[in-house]
């Protein structure tokens, strides 16, 4: 549970701020040719002087956001105790949002009607059911750990380890109480459920691209690998207090994360695939503030972001809200638990 320390590590948060700002800086170039700041435009518009001016102003905003974020992280905003890092991240994000919304507003007059045509390939099959099992398996593991913990309470170490160093040895303990033990399991379970939800959603509830030119564009597959890797890692973390050595799994997960990240950078949108991406088959009006997709008429639960990397939820679906609530509620409880320990 590195976040106990990370919460107070301003250099780490500064790095997060810088990475986020760098991606946001590059984002206008990563969007599809027919889209600018989440608005459907003629492809020629992206090459125009007008668009270049809008991008220039947007990027100034991003530089201001990064500078502000770093200032907050290093204490320029007064004593924030342990919250300077998260506050820095929030400050950077709010300024980015303002820059984005401003750029979107000035792009609006150049908006054209989004295509009304949609395509689907009936020859493509659902992903194999074994992938669904792979997504659910870590949750079953966690349920088994929970059951074992309940039935073997006296064998749970006291004090109870909740954080491990890079050498694989525990370096932070808490008293063995039901709140501490089940709080940790609840937090990890919530996180694993959230990751499983996204992994399953990318597999079965996300729109797939059509067309021969997109066969190499396996963006969703890479995201699935990322989320599955993270889910297995979280589920394995739950077994640490029981004395199981998860270091081999850690290495595998790290390899998955490294390979996926490399793929995203080299072959994914950054590698020029953005220009070949097809229309995202979403109407402009469904993009609230250009960021939130709300379309009750669209059966897809996940759609590709118009501005940003990856996918976003279709907030127009009731099941999206139900599932998000189901996944986020344990996270909230877990976060409160971590805060109580940290204080």
């Amino acid at each position: 549970m590195i976040w106990l320390n990370v919460l107070h590590m301003n250099p780490v948060w500064s790095l997060v701020v810088l990475v986020a700002a760098s991606l946001e800086y590059l984002m206008p170039e990563l969007s599809r040719p027919g889209v600018a700041f989440s608005v459907t435009v003629a492809p020629e518009f992206r090459c125009s002087v007008r668009h270049a001016n809008i991008v220039r102003h947007y990027r100034r905003g991003i530089l201001v956001s990064a500078f502000t974020g770093l200032m907050v992280a290093f204490g320029a905003a007064g004593p924030l105790n342990g919250w300077a890092g998260p506050a820095a991240f929030c400050a950077q994000y709010v300024i980015f949002l303002l820059a984005f919304l401003l750029a979107r507003r000035v792009t609006m007059p150049n908006r054209i009607a989004a295509p009304d045509t949609r395509e689907a390939d009936l020859s493509r099959r659902e992903p194999p059911a074994v992938l669904a099992v792979l997504v659910i398996a870590p949750l079953l593991t966690m349920a088994a750990v929970l059951f074992w913990t309940y039935s073997n309470w006296q064998q749970i170490p006291d004090p109870y380890p909740i954080h491990w160093g890079f050498d694989g040895q525990p370096d932070l303990w808490v008293e063995r109480t039901p709140m501490h033990v089940y709080g940790v399991l609840g937090l990890l379970g919530g996180l694993a459920a959230l990751l499983a939800f996204f992994g399953y959603g990318f597999l079965f509830w996300a729109r797939r691209n059509v067309g021969a030119q997109h066969t190499r564009y396996s963006f969703p597959a890479i995201w699935i690998a990322l989320f599955l890797g993270a889910e297995y890692f979280v589920a394995a973390s739950a077994t640490l207090p029981l004395g199981l050595d998860i270091r081999p799994l850690e290495l595998i997960v790290l390899a998955i994360l490294a390979a996926s990240s490399l793929y995203l950078i080299v072959i994914g949108p950054v590698g020029g695939q953005a220009a070949r991406r097809p229309d995202d088959q979403t109407p402009d009006d469904a993009w609230k503030f250009g960021i939130f997709y709300f379309n009750p008429q669209d059966a897809a639960l996940f759609v590709e972001k118009r501005f940003g990397l990856g996918w976003t939820v279709n907030f127009g679906q009731t099941r999206a809200w139900i599932l998000i609530a189901m996944a986020v509620a344990p996270l909230g409880v877990g976060f409160a638990f971590v805060m109580s320990i940290a204080s």
């Binding site: 009304d116 045509t117 949609r118 395509e119 689907a120 390939d121 009936l122 020859s123 493509r124 099959r125 659902e126 509830w205 996300a206 729109r207 797939r208 059509v210 021969a212 088959q281 979403t282 379309n295 009750p296 008429q297 669209d298 059966a299 897809a300 639960l301």
Partner: protein, 139 residues
């Protein structure tokens, strides 16, 4: 044919309801034997997700095709293509077909498409649907 792409395209701005556009295109594939009896179509949810439309729209298209005898719908198992016996020709159906064809030709002629293009399109469609049999037969 079994492994080639079977792409359907819909136009949300068209005056033809989306469920009919979907049913028409799948029917054309079935007539052209792009799907064999026993083969399964993708689930309603999958087609709806890929097209970005409501589940009910695709379900309606599948129901129409099932009523016409092309598909067998099994709850939880999707739609399976069934072998369909061709019904006996009916003069009313033939007249309705002829009338629709004339209306369609009038529409495209009014839109400026030349008779030569219309003829070549007809031949292309007939060849795709019926092969050699499509030329000069069917009377």
């Amino acid at each position: 044919m079994g492994t080639s792409k079977k792409i359907i395209k819909i136009d949300l701005g068209s005056s033809v309801p989306v469920y009919r556009q979907i049913a028409d295109q799948i029917r054309a594939m079935l007539v052209a034997r792009e799907f064999n009896p026993g083969e399964r179509l993708p689930t309603v949810r999958r087609v709806a997700v890929d097209l970005g439309v409501n589940h009910n729209t695709v379900a309606e298209a599948y129901r129409n095709l099932a009523e016409e005898g092309w598909l067998s719908l099994e709850r939880g198992r999707g739609a399976m293509v069934v072998s369909r016996s061709t019904p006996a020709p009916n003069p009313r159906t033939r007249n309705a077909f002829s009338q629709r064809l004339r209306n369609l030709i009038a529409q495209v002629r009014a839109a400026g498409i030349s008779p030569q293009v219309i003829r070549s399109e007809f031949e292309e469609v007939a060849t795709a649907l019926f092969g050699r049999e499509g030329k000069g037969s069917g009377r």
